[in-house]
């Protein structure tokens, strides 16, 4: 087990290295770049040249990369030029991380608690009304572009009915205290319940939007694998033992059926990051996705590097975690 984890981590390092190399060269090859973003129409050839020099963009790419690596090892990934000018890109990452984690976790929870039960009962009543209905729903879930769903939700719940805020993370007037920067959690910790509630209200629409795709996927996997398990001999054995519905559902059906689901949830993390870019843009939600979209539009190299590397790393780690979890719940792997 341990060896497995170590090996995977080493692979992760390798992958990250490759990604960073590709990333770096790619960014440097891009036309334009931070200077244009910084100076805009005020960029005369002179000022541009001067800036290039100060920023060391006039050196050869390998040299720049070595600089980058060297700095990176010292935990310095450069400075944001646009998204949050002057902020160390890594700091920026950590400032934005809680927002996105808060959002993704809520979205994932929403997806899981709706998708798995629905998937189970759909499979139980295979071909029934609930089944067909929820299948269609899940298919529509993937067919609707995430950002459009966001627009529609916002249009009705915020603009038309003024039920929920359309953008942002928390009303600054509340002047809430920050501890972990997970606003909902902070609100609870400091007993500023109004702040927590306000933060939550800001989360609802984005979370629903973000949950749409994972919901669809998890639902479909759950349904498929429950269908399969229900036809397994050991379920029949369990029935022949006269066990109660509850035991059979939990111990014999779900425990087996959820194995593939666990992996899927892991894979959804990638989808969540993707969705976060769109969702956070639509809802002006100050998370990583929002930073990423901005960094792309305004060619904020440092931020792009950190965010993409972090995305890759996070993705790898989560999947490693999933594999470990898988091993824990599946004895066939654990005891091999």
């Amino acid at each position: 087990m341990l060896r497995f984890i170590v090996r995977r981590l080493l692979q992760a390092v390798l992958v990250l290295f490759i990604v960073s190399l590709l990333l770096f060269t790619w960014l440097r090859k891009l036309p334009g770049g931070p200077i244009d973003a910084i100076l805009g129409e005020r960029a005369t050839p002179e000022t541009r040249a001067a800036l290039r020099k100060t920023l060391g963009l006039d050196q050869s790419i390998p040299v720049q990369y070595l600089h980058f690596l060297n700095n990176a090892i010292h935990g310095n990934f450069g400075t944001s030029t646009q998204v949050q000018t002057g902020t160390d890109a890594l700091d920026l990452f950590f400032q934005r991380l809680p927002a996105t984690v808060e959002l993704s976790v809520l979205a994932l929870i929403l997806a899981v608690i709706t998708a798995i039960p629905l998937g189970y009962f759909a499979a139980k009543r295979h071909g029934g009304f609930l089944d067909t209905g929820s299948v269609v729903l899940s298919l529509v879930g993937v067919a609707v572009p995430v950002f459009f769903l966001g627009f529609v939700l916002k249009y009705f719940f915020s603009i038309e009915w003024h039920m929920l805020p359309p953008a942002g993370r928390q009303n600054p007037d509340l002047d809430a205290t920050r501890i972990t920067n997970f606003y909902v959690l902070d609100g609870l910790l400091t007993r500023e319940y109004d702040a927590a509630w306000d933060a939550l209200k800001h989360l609802i629409l984005p979370a629903i939007t973000l949950a749409s795709v994972p919901f669809a996927v998890i639902f479909r996997i759950t349904r498929a694998s429950v269908l399969e398990v229900l036809n397994e001999d050991y379920v029949r054995t369990a029935e022949s033992k006269g066990l109660s519905e509850r035991i059979i559902r939990g111990r014999h059906v779900l425990h087996n059926a959820l194995l593939p689901v666990v992996t899927t949830i892991g894979l959804q993390v990638g989808a969540l990051l993707t969705g976060a870019v769109l969702t956070e843009t639509v809802f002006g939600y100050p998370g990583l996705g929002d930073a990423l979209a901005q960094a792309f539009r305004q060619r904020d190299y440092a931020v792009l590097q950190v965010l993409i590397l972090a995305a890759a790393l996070g993705y790898i780690l989560v999947n490693l975690l999933v594999d470990v979890a898988y091993a824990i719940i599946d004895p066939r792997i654990r005891t091999r």
């Binding site: 397994e232 001999d233 050991y234 029949r236 054995t237 369990a238 029935e239 022949s240 033992k241 006269g242 066990l243 109660s244 035991i247 111990r251 014999h252 425990h255 087996n256 194995l259 719940i329 599946d330 004895p331 066939r332 005891t335």
Partner: protein
């Protein structure tokens, strides 16, 4: 368990199946009759065999009795009276209470029949917890003894192990342990040995013999292998195409098999006393060639003794005129007594 108690001296039946009929088929499609008016009795402590090729409906029969057929897309008719109550009329809850307590079952493929992600111990113990209301710890201790009794070495270790860590034979033993956990009065064994190697088969059969037969639990033995029947059963029902074609006590049946199909089955067992150059007479064709019972004898297309009437009239199950004891037969043109393939 304590020392095997002798079989009760009563002769009244424990389970009596009457006109059991099972039809599959979703709306819009011609229903498929898997079991067609099957009737037989099981007396306490008796071992009854249901014999036939795969697809002859023997497993469906057992599942019907256990109430384990998929709820949707099939119709079950007839009755299966288990000391006084018709199991087919019980609702789901009542049936659950009886399954595993009064009636237990073991299945063909011991690997796929065990939950791969739950330890053997738990899988045995859960029955005890369910039906004997035992606490987990007590149940586990009991399970340990059970595993020991079915001859699994080092049971306390096996308790914690998972199916994939056990050998085929041990898995089947474990299944038996689960089935016998609550000392059921009827055990249905569905091809319990087919998935095992020959050497193991013998062991398992012996195990069944001593644990079930000797302890007075009635046993329904479902198999396609008359060899198994010969070793175990008191009475044999031969099924074909969903109907019983021949019923007789073991020795009677082996002594004078009358139905060509039974003969075919017998003929396909290698016999040690057979002459060297004697070749196995296999039954030509497959179940797929059946004609429906309604328009004659389903076996006719494959039958070596088939005559015109076989394809015209549906034979009925009647007492064999020439037999001494009760020997039911469904054939227009049976083999002469003592006749051999």
């Amino acid at each position: 368990m304590t020392a095997p108690s002798p079989a009760p001296a009563t002769t009244d039946t424990l389970l009596s199946v009457r006109d059991l009929t099972v039809e599959f088929g979703t709306k819009g499609q011609t229903p498929f009759r898997a079991v067609d008016g099957v009737s037989f009795d099981v007396r306490p402590g008796q071992t009854v065999g249901l014999v036939g090729e795969s697809g002859c409906g023997k497993s469906v029969t057992s599942l019907a009795i256990m109430g384990l057929l998929p709820k949707r897309g099939n119709k079950v008719a007839g009755s299966a009276t288990f000391d006084g109550t018709d199991l087919l009329t019980l609702d789901d809850r009542e049936m659950r209470d009886r399954r595993g307590r009064d009636v237990a079952m073991i299945f063909q493929d011991p690997l796929s029949s065990l939950n791969p992600v739950v330890s053997i111990g738990v899988q045995v113990a859960e029955v005890l917890q369910r039906h004997r209301g035992m606490k987990k710890s007590a149940a586990m201790a009991e399970s340990r003894d059970l595993l020991d009794k079915v001859g699994i070495p080092d049971p306390s270790r096996r308790l914690k192990e998972y199916p994939h860590q056990l050998s085929g034979g041990m898995r089947q033993r474990a299944l038996i342990a689960m089935a016998l956990a609550c000392k059921p009065r009827l055990l249905i064994a569905d091809e319990p040995t087919t998935a095992l190697d020959v050497t193991i088969q013998a062991q398992i059969l012996n195990l069944l013999k001593e644990l079930v037969v000797d302890s007075g639990t009635a046993l329904i033995m479902i198999t396609h292998d008359l060899g198994v029947v010969a070793g175990l059963c008191d009475e044999v029902n031969v099924l074909y195409g969903g109907r019983i074609v021949e019923t007789a006590p073991r020795h009677e049946l082996f002594a004078s098999p009358r139905h060509p199909y039974t003969n075919g089955l017998l003929g396909s067992i290698p016999r040690l006393d057979g002459a060297r150059n004697e070749q196995l007479a296999a039954i030509p064709g497959s179940v797929a060639d059946n004609i429906p019972w309604t328009s004659g004898c389903a076996f006719a297309p494959r039958c070596s003794r088939a005559i015109d009437v076989c394809r015209a009239e549906t034979p009925s199950l009647e007492q064999d005129s020439v037999a001494i004891e009760d020997h039911l037969l469904r054939c227009h043109n049976p083999w002469p007594t003592g006749g051999e393939a």
